[in-house]
Symmetry: C3
Subunit: 364 residues, 3 copies
């Protein structure tokens, strides 16, 4: 099945097609409808074209099915789908439609051509570095003294690995990534282009009348767990001393800034352009929306949700959902935001009422 | 005419000088005043020095002319300029002073030395890539399998062009730019250093009790139109499937983050550090100020203006001007912001009035 | 003395140990307590382990000393330290504990191995460039026509130095840094990876009915003073004409964006992800917190403090401390923020009171 752009790309991938019943088998789903439909693309339910597959994972999507031009849908078991035309369309029931879509995307992913193993002649690798023979060190890469590059690692091109840094097995570093001295990444990591790990923390003593500003040496490192993904142009500073730590399976979007000595748990999600101040901590399974700011030393617990644009000054407890500037429990924040949207009007109305009451009192 | 720094640079460009009448001819303007004045630099109207040229495009600038030390000014036709000393100074009337300044800046631009055409011996170009002979592939550049580099393209240095990516004619990529597999840029594009186009979208299914977080494969591409400019360290993610699309003549500042599946129209301006959430859309000719945030799926219409620092949660209609957190029509937002600035004071005043009225009532 | 991670790093540095009396001599301090204690690591006062050194620079730290597991502390003279066990622990009094810690961090800093001087065979240096023989030009670096690289400069790897750019003595540029044509950095500078200096300012005339958007040529430069530090993935645009200027000893964190024609004074601190609009100015010794936004043309005076997340629209006077959106004097801002946090509740209460008063009046 091809993933064609609905917007008219000139770079269509090679066309692939699959029958509805073969697709059902691929995702171990239960087919209701026409097994012979040929599917060639994915589409949103309201943007269907002939030959397109969609997914239904909510009651509102279920109601749109009868009118959708998509010819097949992956359905999370349990939804009632009114008006299904079983003669001309196909529903494929699965335990979780989102998970099934992942299986399909993985199957049709054109992916990245695995580069050749070994060290490209235009790479510069120090003779003391340890490079597994199954690793791929692309053109323009630099690997410094005593660095360790484990099995299956890919450094695509122009990647810099500092002295005594360590890259775990099967980790993939896109072009322009920079890993500072003594920093480490775990296994199966994925780091996007121009990301910088191990720059100095921003630590200075401010100037006094007697002396200029003084730099506090930043002699710590960064330690990143297994199965971590880090976005393009994100930056993670090394610790003042000790480590800046990122837990296992944590996923970090583009242009995120993580300051020195932050401690981030496992299974955390940090969306685009979020900023973590120095020594802030985040518990396991917590999610931060886009452009969130954590103050220096802020403490965010486990299983927390922080809405985009929020500023966290101090502490968010386990399991809370917070929003706002500064962060508040979401219900209070929503009520306050609603009140703020009408604030000028409210102020005028109150002033008028007070004046009237005052006048009435004076004259009564 | 030289562009000398008013702040004492040690790197002055070679001195150029031009007579006021020659300048008027260059911009096809109407000269009123002394044609023999020699101009050697540009300056703001209130920072003039002898030999400096300024521009007048507003009534307030027009009033400053009599006292300005600038010796000449480009004037947008239609302004009344009081106190012009036509013996010692020159006014050059043009249809649009801003456009005339552009002509002058272009004429005196030291520019960038056009690099040699051809492939630098320290570049790495796959034998299957198509490279126009008039293109310039600088040192440290990598061009992957089946990539297409059209006529007049410049890859300055250390640029990475992924597999099957396509760069349109006369597009200029500064050092460290990374273009992902299968992504495309149109003609006459300009991309600044360390910009990343085609990193993966940030798509995950959050963890459940039964399974860890799952990555949603991001198998789409990025398509960028003609005459697009993109700033340093900006990042544009590829689509989950389909395309992330940037229209013609759209200009994007530094450190802008554009998530997967965004659709941005023609002639759009995105100022520094703006963040677009996944699948958000922006109509033609819309302008976003600095550090704006669009929520996932936000829809911003055509001819919209969004003030810096605004957060757009859902929809902005064609032609609106919005401001605030969250975005509101600008007049309401300004009134609310004014009310917020006095909020503590207002609350104290209201509490006092209510107490007084209540006391009065009790005792009356 | 080793700096071991308290979090279990596998990359411990070589163990170093030092006696308390030797440490006191190193920082020229006055020892009170056991001179024979062997110190092997640094720790926060409440995270002490045997062999750890901490620091006391506040009354609250002083009170924690009796219960701390740290065995020694650097103390800023003048604090009373209750419950000091002089037999088993050591206090080392110094003029400023923070400065003493810097001395120690410097002494134990594993640092960066000074690279070989000279030009790496995989660098590309134009024959017209001037390279001091004591400079180090690493692999993948490009140095263009007429560039000047002074004594002791280090370009680690994949650094790009544009035409006629100038790098002052002993300045250190991390991998992937890009310096644009004609831009200059002073002496003893430190620029972290993938930072871009000298990209074009974002200057356009918006489209009219008669013509498309027009680019305003950006023909100025960037001038950076001595002893300046700039973080990873930060971007500094060249001026439209004239210069974008950064003063001496100014320190800039990661992902900061400085637009064209900004003028920043000496000894300024700009924290992570701060954005400066075009032609904004900042006076000497001013500090901006993280993610601050300065509007185009904003003017921030000397000795100012701007709290994180603040938006400055126009002017902040010398010596002020400001906070909020938009910036307000900190006391007013704090009062307004407190009122905002209770706004919905306040509105409900006022409405209820007004209604009650109104009812009372009607019925009285």
């Amino acid at each position: 099945m091809a993933v064609e752009s609905q917007k008219g790309t000139q770079h269509d991938q090679e066309s692939v097609s699959i029958r509805a019943d073969d697709l059902a088998a691929m995702v171990e789903g239960r087919l209701v409808g026409n097994p012979n439909i040929i599917l060639r693309t994915l589409a949103a339910i309201n943007e269907g074209i002939p030959g397109s597959l969609t997914f239904i994972r909510s009651a509102s999507f279920a109601k749109e099915w009868a009118d959708s031009l998509c010819e097949a849908a992956l359905v999370t078991e349990g939804f009632d789908i009114p008006g299904h035309d079983a003669e001309n369309k196909a529903l494929i029931y699965v335990q979780d439609a989102d998970v099934a879509v992942i299986k399909i995307l993985e199957a049709i992913n054109p992916g990245i051509a695995k580069p050749n193993t070994g060290i490209h002649p235009n790479a510069n690798v120090d003779s003391s570095a340890s490079i597994d023979p199954s690793a791929s060190i692309g053109p323009g890469c630099i690997v410094c003294k005593d660095a360790i590059i484990n099995a299956g690692v890919v450094l695509v091109a122009n990647v810099y690995i500092g002295q005594s840094a360590k890259i775990g097995s099967d980790t993939f570093l896109h072009p322009g990534v920079v890993i500072g001295d003594r920093c480490s990444i775990g296994e199966r990591g994925l780091v996007f282009a121009n990301c910088v790990i191990g720059s100095d923390g921003f630590g200075f003593l401010t100037a006094t009348q007697d002396r200029p500003v003084l730099k506090v040496p930043q002699i710590g490192t960064v330690e990143i767990g297994d199965d971590v993904e880090i976005g393009a142009c994100s930056t993670i500073d090394r610790a003042k001393f000790g480590v800046t730590k990122i837990g296992h399976r944590t996923k970090i979007d583009n242009q995120v800034h993580i300051a020195h000595n932050c401690i981030i748990g496992n299974d955390v999600l940090l969306c685009g352009r979020t900023t973590l101040g120095g020594s802030s901590t985040i518990g396991d399974r917590t999610m931060l929306g886009g452009a969130v700011i954590l103050n220096d030393q802020a403490t965010v617990g486990k299983d927390v949700k922080v809405a985009g644009g929020t500023i966290v000054l101090d502490t968010v407890n386990d399991g809370e959902t917070v929003l706002g500037v500064p962060a508040m429990p979401v219900r209070i924040a929503m009520a306050n935001i609603a009140a703020q949207r009408n604030l000028a009007k409210f102020c005028r109305r109150v002033d008028k009422s007070l004046k009237k009451l005052d006048d009435n009192y004076q004259t009564s």
